[in-house]
Amino acid sequence: MDRIVEIENLSFIYPDGCQGLRDISLAVYPGEDLAVIGPNGAGKSTLLLHLNGILRGNSLVRVCGLPVEEKNLKEIRRKVGLVFQDPDDQLFSPTVFDDVAFGPLNMGYSESEVRQRVAQALEGVGLAGYEKRSSHHLSAGERKRIALATVLSLNPQLLVLDEPTSNLDPRSKWSLIELLGRLPVTKVIAAHDLELVRALCPRTVVLDEGRMVAEGSTADILDDLSLLRAHGLAPQGKAIPAPG
């Protein structure tokens, strides 16, 4: 298995007739960190939701060698950790422990293994000992980390992150980026934050209006000002220097 994700000619139309994705072909290789960038409404989140079968389009997506279909969903959701943009969506339990234990419990692990995985996952995001806290008492940065811990407790082979640094102040943002950089797992990251992309991901794809409009090394793409301008990722005027 030389590819963790294989997508060929994937299109997706939302039930209300909105075209979410058009003819996307994409491969993700083990160990790499891939960025998905694009303006609002480009289809980034829609694409991410295909990676663990929450949404399913017209063509088959293969994840970790398994086709994304009903009978493989449980296995795929164990291998793919999806972190949503808003931690308030991801953290729905009364305590941090319940949230981090939710995945392992659904996988039917034993009590001692669940406890061990929760402790490890919290340790991994630098928040050991937070088990009994309630998530609505935590800061935005802590919530993002706990949301990450809720999928790390499943030891995923692929980490899928939707805007991991949104709503964070620079300090929390950079400490989260450093944390993500240390995690030895394949990552697909959807982001507007080009600083994050430059810091973490060697390869980038650009989506716009559901189409994949560019793909290549992050340095090449982020230096291609006319491409970034064409897809609303860089300032139009010359007065403000482009990011990165």
């Binding site: 663990n52 929450i54 449980k74 808003d86 969506d89 729905f92 009364p94 995945g103 039917g108 406890r115």
Partner: protein, 258 residues
Amino acid sequence: MKHSFIDQYSDGDSLIHRLDPRTKLVTTLAFIVAVVLTPVSNWRAFVFYFCLVAALLIISRLPPLYVLKRSLVVFPFVLLVAIFIPFFNQGEVAGSYNIGLWRVSVTYSGLVVLANVVVKAWLSILSLVLLSATTNFTELLKGLRQSGVPEVIVLILSFMYRYVFVLVDEMLRMRRARDSRNFGGGRRRQLRTIGNMIGILFIRSYERGERVYAAMLSRGFDSQIRSLRQLSFKKADAYFSIAFALALISSAVVFWWL
């Protein structure tokens, strides 16, 4: 934003705080049943119930003012329901008044029924304040789950507790945005704006529900709810339950004899 939480003071420490949530749930329920079933003529029994719950409140070291405030919250509802009883009950007339065209009379038995409703409601609420202020909400949910309350209901309560503050925040932000744009104008327009806000809040909650469900599915949720069971019944729980049950039973017997 900061809110006062339902289970404020529940992280305190006292004999009552340390009891198993199931013990507290069952005794609270037993207390309320006893209060509701006691005939109104037995006023001594109500004095006894009050002393019982007051003693427990003292042991739990809750601030008295907080308890009083909390217990008064339900009064508008109780009064709204019960205020007309004295006017509709048959019996000896305590006083009658002419208000315009109407002639209204208040009866003694009606007043007794009103007092009955108010006293019983207040005692029940006091015991519930005691329960909620000495039990962490999470523990309470665990207690409910292990006392055999259906998992779905426990889950609904748990979501309610988790998201009520998120929704209140959303509501406050919307109100600020509205006020910063000079909310004013006629009454009709104001009502329309408030109606729109409620509608938007509803749609947002619905959409959030869908995202939360997607987050649950992503972590392998298959409509079966699992949890680790970790409550233990201690000696103190046994003593407390027995003492409480004896107090209730003996009061029933004693006041029945009197």
